[in-house]
């Protein structure tokens, strides 16, 4: 396993594995141990409750503080998509994929000194529903008894769904139907195992004890979040929960992005959560190239087009937008060709089911080369929607606003009458979802939850994700194609027996959705991490981004 992993890992990560696995160079690792890693963020990420919070900002930190029964491997590159046993030492799937039996590891303690028991596991699954976790209905509704829990969370028992046996130290989870993606769902922070004594409502700013190498010592959303070494932690699995280097990790809030970059340049802080401002990028790429890390993400920037109201209820109008968008121009807004790659389809490169496909370009084929404005104009003319009024909605941050303005400009060029409207970033995600707001086209991005094609295709373009009149209707295009949706269900079923077969079907679905153009895909972004000079051993997990605790500061 180790050898296999090494082949996949980036050089840095391999070095780390070697260091810890062999133990021969323990002295080097030991000498890097200690110090305080100082992270910055413009604002706090909200509640600290790992079963409620749904922000990348804290999911990144939960990696070192909480564990689920399973975990994504803490490693660089694509290895981060592997699911490994974490608090469970092993698991077996029975009953045709409907029963999952986990054997708990012994001797693991929470940061409050209490041992982890099967009771804690059962309570944690109930808690997902009691605290009304955002994914309670999305990820965990397949557990037997979940329907009742979703209806009346306060009395949730998951009877017949999750049960523990203290004698054999096992936990059994029963599903209503086989779900091949369930292992991913158990490895995200919402399925963290917390003490049974954790409050049965959102814990807010009060930290809950966890099992990771660190624990949250204090949290003040207006000031700072402090992580310290968990005194009860011992490393049980290098892959699932490795020990970390710094003694303390802090994330301070309140500095503007501009000031964050300056502070890191001056060595006053080690890393900033927010994306650096456009006019500092050149400086980072030249003067601080050694401290700047670029990593492709499994994500995409796209513009959902509402297929139920004019003008984009017309396929030709939607395709015209796809033909007209100059992806290279958009990438310039994003910071240049080194920070993103053009794309026309839903699935991002390197993702299960990804096969390059781009019909909307000068020379249709697998990759995008140049916009075809003549064709776009022709399609608009054919659609009969020429002169239609369009409002492009975007969030009001620098980049997204500029993307919205650019889209409006393109729409005007091909014959629509478009204006751009920037709204608060906090409502820019929910506002376009509600059909009552009549949003025609808007600027969105989607970052994967877990590495499965359904996380893009089924969630964003499946009939089940479209709820007219609700603010939670993530299928913003309102796209519901019966034939395509049936194929999605077929692919989900196929995953139980064979992921490769299912992924071939997902590729086909990807192409079909792209042809129907419920969205205009713009590009696949890269992630930029700018760290201070003293930060060593930068490991980037595709799943949860930079593994902060795996870097050293001395």
């Amino acid at each position: 396993m180790v050898r296999n992993r090494r082949a996949l890992l980036a050089v840095v990560a391999a070095a780390l594995v070697a260091v810890v696995a062999t133990g021969s160079s323990g002295a080097t690792a030991q000498s890097h141990r200690g110090g305080t890693l100082k992270l910055l963020a413009n604002a706090a990420g909200g509640t600290l409750d790992p079963q409620v919070n749904y922000t990348l900002q804290y999911w990144q930190l939960y990696q070192a503080t909480y564990d689920g029964l399973l975990a994504f491997q803490k490693a660089g590159g694509a290895a981060a998509f592997n699911v490994v046993p974490d608090l469970a030492s092993s698991y077996t799937i029975k009953n045709g994929g409907k029963s999952w039996v986990f054997t708990l590891r012994k001797g693991i303690k929470f940061s409050n000194g209490r041992p982890v028991t099967v009771n804690d596991v059962v309570a944690s699954f109930r808690r997902i529903f009691k605290v009304k976790s955002p994914t309670a209905g999305g990820f965990y509704s397949g557990i037997v008894g979940a329907t009742a829990c979703l209806k009346t969370p306060a009395t949730c028992t998951l009877k017949g769904g999750v049960s523990g046996d203290a004698k054999t130290n096992t936990v059994t989870i029963n599903l209503t139907a086989p779900d091949a993606e369930f292992k991913f769902k158990l490895a995200v922070p919402h399925a963290s195992i917390l003490p049974a004594s954790a409050p049965s409502s959102d814990a807010g700013t009060k930290p809950i004890p966890g099992t990771g190498a660190y624990y949250f010592a204090s949290y003040d959303p207006n000031k700072e979040l402090v992580m310290k070494r968990n005194p009860y932690f011992h490393q049980w699995s290098q892959a699932a929960q490795p020990d970390g280097y710094p003694d303390q990790i802090t994330q301070s809030f309140g500095l503007t992005v501009e000031a964050q970059v300056t502070a890191i340049e001056n060595g006053q802080a080690d890393w900033g959560y927010d994306f650096p401002p456009a006019d500092r990028l050149n400086e980072l790429g030249t003067k601080y190239a050694a401290q700047t890390h670029l990593t492709p993400l499994t994500a995409f920037w796209y513009a959902p087009m509402n297929v139920n109201i004019p003008p984009f209820n017309n396929l030709k109008a939607r395709q015209a937008v796809n033909y007209a968008i100059d992806r290279n121009a958009l990438i310039k807004i994003f910071g240049g060709s080194k920070l993103a790659t053009p794309s026309c389809q839903v699935l991002p490169p390197g993702f299960p089911g990804y096969k390059p496909y781009c019909p909307y370009t000068k020379n249709p084929g697998s990759t995008w080369s140049a916009p075809d404005v003549a064709k776009a104009k022709q399609l608009v003319a054919q659609s009969g929607e020429k002169g239609a009024k369009v409002v492009v909605i975007s969030a009001n941050d620098e980049v997204q606003k500029a993307v919205g303005v650019y889209l409006a400009s393109v729409l005007n060029e091909i014959g629509f009458k478009a204006t751009a409207k920037a709204i608060s970033g906090n409502i820019a995600f929910t506002y376009p979802q509600n059909t009552k707001n009549h949003v025609q086209i808007n600027v969105q991005q989607w970052y994967q939850d877990y590495p499965a094609a359904s996380d893009f295709l089924h969630i964003l373009f499946g009939c089940e994700s479209f709820h007219p009149g609700s603010d939670s209707s993530i299928n913003m295009a309102g796209f519901c194609d019966k034939a395509i949706n049936a194929q999605m269900h077929q692919a989900l079923k196929m995953e139980v027996t064979s992921f490769p077969k299912a992924n071939a079907l997902w590729s086909k679905i990807d192409r079909e959705v792209t042809d129907q153009a419920p969205m205009a895909t713009m590009f696949t972004p890269k992630h930029l991490d700018f760290v201070s000079k003293r930060v060593g051993n930068f490991v980037f997990s595709k799943q949860f981004y930079w593994l902060v605790d795996q870097s050293w500061v001395q």
């Binding site: 909200g46 309670a136 969370p153 207006n222 503007t256 709820h467 939670s472």
Partner: protein
């Protein structure tokens, strides 16, 4: 007098109440405000959405929600944000207040001192080129958008001359006084100057015209006739009476600024004060924070108005009847 004070107090409460209701109503007139989906999280299930809506009382009638919110804000003091789930609102305001106070207080010191100097200079040298020059400088200060001036200051101190003359200027943001008094001063010096420039212009003009007018008054002429020196007349009589208008204007402006009127300066200099908090909450449609900050802001404006009125009433009994 007591009746007057009482009446002012009642009208103050009325204004504060109206403002809280108004903010509440404006909020619900805004589209996309239902916080349930934001609280519930990305791609939440419809059933979870309904449960969250019920939890936060979002399914109750508006008057009840208003009453509940006021109770949480003033009585139990545990009102929590809609956006930063679990974050209490009152600590946010109390943490932002010192930033704004530091900013406004320092700026006020600068603008009062400088504008008195300029106003007197212009008043004394009335009609000469000094008067014209001082007044035009003041007018230029009034005419520049404060956020633009702040950007220019940033351009110079954070970028263009940061390598040389201004290398001591800390990055944008606030450094608490308790953490480092010197750092506090350095981080606020340019925001102070920027904010005060507008007011220097206004106050210098007000003071100048008041001095000019006072010099025409009978008692000053009498004082002059009695053989007092020009300087004595200016300081003892003209200036003192001119200051009444000056002080009342100051009261109003100070109140408005402490209440969040320094928003643009705070935004440009990255200071997380009350104005910035209010602006952010409006942008985030975070009703609990909007209500808290707007009531806080209105309180200062109304209180400053009331204090100024009381001072006037105390000085001029006719006002009490008006």
């Amino acid at each position: 007098m007591l009746r007057f004070v009482l009446r002012r107090f009642v009208s103050m409460i009325f204004v504060l109440f109206s403002i809280s209701v108004l903010s509440f109503l404006i909020f619900f007139a805004t589209p996309g405000v239902d916080p349930a989906a934001r609280i519930a999280g990305r791609n939440a299930d419809q059933r979870t959405l309904a449960a969250v809506r019920h939890d936060f009382g979002l399914d109750r009638p508006l008057p009840i929600r208003y009453a509940l919110m006021m109770k949480k804000l003033f009585i139990t003091r545990d009102l929590t944000s809609y956006v930063n789930r679990g974050a209490k609102v009152i600590p946010q305001v109390t943490q932002a207040a010192p930033v704004t106070l530091s900013l406004v207080f320092g700026a006020a010191v600068i603008w009062v001192v400088v504008s008195i100097a300029m106003g007197m200079l212009a008043g004394v040298f009335r009609g000469t080129w000094i008067d014209t020059a001082v007044m035009i400088v003041g007018l230029i200060g009034i005419s520049m958008p404060v956020f633009w001036l702040g950007e220019v200051v940033n351009l110079i101190t954070q970028s263009r001359l940061h390598g040389s003359v201004f290398s001591w200027v800390p990055p944008l943001g606030y450094i608490p006084f308790s953490q480092s008094p010197w750092g506090w001063f350095k981080s606020l010096l340019f925001p102070w100057l920027t904010l005060s420039i507008l007011y220097i212009g206004i106050y210098a003009r007000v003071l100048r015209s008041a001095i000019v007018e006072a010099q025409e008054e009978d008692y000053v002429r009498t004082a002059r006739a009695k053989g007092l020196t020009e300087r004595r007349v200016l300081f003892r009589h003209a200036l003192r009476t001119s200051l009444v208008g000056f002080v009342s204007l100051f009261g109003l402006d100070f109140g408005a600024l402490v209440g969040g009127g320094a928003l643009l300066t705070e935004v440009v200099f990255g200071l997380h004060g009350v104005g910035k908090l209010t602006f952010d909450s409006l942008q985030n449609l975070d009703l609990p924070v909007i209500l808290a900050t707007v009531i806080y802001a209105a309180f200062f404006v109304v209180a400053a108005n009331a204090v100024v009125d009381l001072v006037y009433a105390w000085l001029d009994p006719r006002v009490r009847r008006a």
